[in-house]
């Protein structure tokens, strides 16, 4: 009886942990390495309204996101893996027309590890994307808007 219970629990955990979205079909456009280029922001952290840009060329840090086909997303800082999650899409849209495939528009929101309170979203083309909250995140009481630009590595 106890063995059966353990078996049921293990099966349940296995199914739950495999509840990830593979990046097939139109999601395949995300697969690959995305390197951080810059972050643009409008803020009032110092009182007046200011525009600021952090650029990868001048920053002492590099960031990249890896989308793996099996439904895994990895975040790297200075080429060191910071975290890894399975992907569960809350929403995704990929433009299917447009003559240049790499210019077709993508919009997505992912629940990291299926957790709705830990999410990442992006918009852009299949070549360059704006990620909402990585590596820098909007602070409600300081920023008007903030955009993290990533470019796909070919």
């Amino acid at each position: 009886m106890k063995n059966k219970l353990i078996f049921v629990l293990i099966t349940f955990i296995s199914f739950s942990s495999c509840n990830k979205d593979r990046l097939g079909g139109n999601k395949e456009a995300l697969v690959g390495t995305w390197n951080w280029q810059r972050t643009d922001m409008s803020h009032y952290c110092n009182g007046g309204i200011e525009y600021e840009t952090y650029e990868s060329d001048t920053a002492n840090e590099t960031y990249r996101i890896e989308f793996l086909k099996e439904g895994i997303i990895q975040f790297y800082k200075n080429d060191i893996l910071e975290s890894e999650h399975f992907i569960k899409f809350n929403a995704i849209g990929v433009q299917e027309d447009g003559i240049v495939p790499s210019h077709r528009q993508i919009v997505f929101e992912i629940f990291l590890d299926g957790d709705g309170s830990n999410r990442i979203s992006g918009t852009g083309t299949q070549k360059e994307m704006k990620i909402s909250n990585y590596p820098f995140e909007l602070e409600e009481d300081c920023h008007h808007w903030l955009k993290n630009y990533f470019r796909k590595e070919y």
Partner: protein
Amino acid sequence: MINSKSILLILLVNVGVVSCKKDKLKDEKSILIGNWEWVNTQHDFGWCEGESWEETLTPESEDENYSMFFYKKGVVEFYQNGNLLDKSRVVFDHFEINELGNFSFVIDLNNKEENRMSGYGNETSVNFGGFPFVGVAGCEDYDNYFSKG
């Protein structure tokens, strides 16, 4: 006496003709014939953030070349770095040219409204909407400039 088989045949031929429609580039439309090389793209964006920014994309900044070739028979080919991306039939929704040789056009590629592209230009340069960059309506705009090669 027209029987049902004849009606079916006429319908099929009609559907075939409509679905394969293309407009020859003759008379004033012949101004489009030939090779057009991408020069640059003016990108206006940020409207959805309440901002207004501009940037110029060039073959150097993008590390890519684009071109399109219009054939007299009513076919256009689109190229990226010399590789054929797409070949479509040209069906004009609109074309007009003035006495100075400035023209404007609206084309439905393969006769499909969802593949609508428009542009304007003259004998040597053309602004083409839809290739190589397409914007998100209401948030940004791309003006793609080509010169006759």
